[in-house]
Subunit: 354 residues, 2 copies
């Protein structure tokens, strides 16, 4: 059966890593004797430059009609001076909202071969394996009003949630925990924010349906500490949009290999959105130095969650693991002085093994 | 000249550490041939239990009439089920707001003798020395509305700032940077929040008056990573209330010695508010196991910033350093199996050396 996959390269190294991912996806399709329909769309700075909008209607239609969307990265200094709604990031927020992918899943894992790259002591991070579920389409990012007041002398952003918005993402987190080690950590700031108190209530409500999952509540400031001091103890962490933005990047960096981390953004129905955790890295863009493996692992998540090919997901993950265990290093993973391979080289190695 | 110092022990180990700090302050006063007026006030859970309010009027008046306020810690599981305005934390937020201490200063330093306690590799944290300036009386903590809507089906918190609120804390951060290594890092989320865009504008405006200070802007998610990967490179970090809450706790934990970290909250005029960074630690409260040194270092900051006795500040800091360098360890600092001293013991050692 043919599949429709929208490819949104975006900016900077987003273009390079998605180009390699396209090859990988085509290999998977060919191995099943199928030809899939991969179509590129503009987003972010590239879209701004060509159409004046960070998320052109055409891209939106392309994504809405797809089975899954693969995104590279958006943004760069070139567009930093533009007003809020004309920035590359507005394209990213727009596509998340339009597809209603309310749950951003970020698996945080350390790799045996890459432990020494972690800023943390190896004994703290060895065997870390948790997943952060970040609410992605509500909260401070989208609440209204978001505006200047009093002739520009004051400004407001709004943290707004409905119980339904909280419930659906919390449920997804419980489902994940149930299929894993059965431990859920919910992060909020219930001692200060009303929205966090509602968040905590909803978590307790949903918990009643998951007697096999143990629940711990952490305040966000405490969570920022615990992620560093006891990362191995987490299984699934669920939190609201802004807290999730901060904590998932913090969690990513403790692995020492942010160039290896994928993400999946899922909704109730419709296409999932898959992106590497790293950004557009304008400083190394266009030089063949990018690490495509986070994007490859995002493709694996896409195979598993949107395209229902768990075997393809396993094959990709195994091939990536194999390359790392062989000692192959991209520039971001190489220690100073160590030899490294270029984007196309490591991509070819993985593609050969899939 | 006599000084009026309000002592607010609060809850849990807050009581134990302030009791030791009172002795220290009296020693300093005596060494100057003076008797200072130290008066205790109720705050937090202790105040709730005795008066029904987490911040009784009497405490407020006591603090407003003081030259400085020393606070232990507030909160504990006993009061966690209470509604927002009846929680111990409401007392803390209330006193900050009433005293208008808009700038929370948190020095983040590693101690040569305690490097191994850090979760980070020692080479990353050796010599870390920066200060976080957190806006403390605005933003999501205080903005209105903060309420349930639609019969409880929705909820809102409000991130509100005026340019004047931003300007005063940013100025204080520039002043600090000017007196240190001349590097300011401003943290915001300008690619998403309107309030962050105003924040960044104000930083740029104020920067014009500080040509000797270099300014870097970091997005909060990126800052959460950089604090871990390159902590030595920071000098002064300034950010809004909620980001500061999260990042300052994250920064605290990388030192490996959160029991050693003081804070000062300052306003334009009026008394400063001094507190250790650690919380009320209900699990060890009342057992003589608390580490009073963060509170002692907070007393040092009080001597420097509110009481204008820089020599006393230096003396306290030196005495604390001396005790640590001698290898004395409180329970939180001792490695497993290592001997440790109790609250009163370490307090006596420092007091003797001051
Ligand atoms: C680019 C930015 C708008 C985005 C976010 O904050 O969500 C990014 O940081 C992320 O985490 O995907
Ligand atoms: C207790 C709580 C309200 C407080 C805060 O969030 O400001 C604490 O975490 C702190 O950082 O002083």
């Amino acid at each position: 059966m043919t599949k429709n996959i929208a490819i949104l390269p975006g900016d900077g190294i987003g273009r390079e890593v998605t180009a390699e991912a396209v090859k990988l996806v085509q290999i998977v399709a060919a191995s099943r004797g199928e030809t899939w329909n991969l179509e590129e769309g503009l987003i972010g700075g590239a879209a701004l430059d060509q159409t004046g909008s960070p998320l052109p209607d055409e891209t939106l239609r392309l994504c809405q009609a797809a089975d899954a969307v693969l995104l590279g990265a958006v943004g760069g200094p070139k567009w930093d001076h533009l007003p809020g709604d004309k920035r590359p990031e507005a394209g990213l927020l727009g596509i998340r909202k339009a597809l209603e992918v309310y749950a951003n899943l970020r698996p945080i894992q350390t790799w045996p071969g890459l432990l020494l790259a972690s800023p943390l002591k190896p004994e703290l991070v060895e065997g870390v394996d948790f997943i952060i579920v970040r609410e992605l389409t509500g909260g401070l990012y989208f609440g209204q009003p978001k505006a200047r007041l009093d002739g520009g002398e004051a400004v407001v952003d709004t943290l707004h949630y409905t119980r339904a918005e909280i419930r659906r993402v919390v449920k997804m987190a419980f489902e994940l925990a149930k299929g894993r080690r059965g431990r859920l950590t919910s992060v909020d700031k219930a001692n200060v924010l009303e929205s966090s108190r509602v968040w905590r209530e909803v978590v307790e409500e949903v918990a009643a349906s998951y007697p096999g999952v143990s629940v711990e509540h952490l305040l966000v400031d405490n969570a920022a500490m615990q992620i560093i001091t006891r990362p191995k103890t987490f299984d699934v962490i669920v939190t609201e949009n802004m807290f999730g933005d901060i904590l998932s990047d913090e969690a990513a960096v403790i692995t020492g290999s942010i160039g290896m981390l994928p993400s999946a953004s899922l909704g109730e129905a419709g296409p999932g959105l898959y992106e590497p955790v790293h950004g557009s890295a304008p400083d190394i863009a266009g030089q063949g130095l990018a690490n495509p493996l986070a994007t490859f692992l995002s493709v694996a998540l896409m195979m598993r969650h949107s395209l229902h090919f768990p075997e393809a997901a396993d094959a990709i993950e195994q091939a990536v693991h194999g390359v790392i265990e062989q000692g192959i290093r991209t520039r971001d993973l190489a220690r100073s002085g160590e030899a490294f391979v270029r984007t196309a080289e490591v991509s070819a190695m993985v593609c050969e093994d899939v």
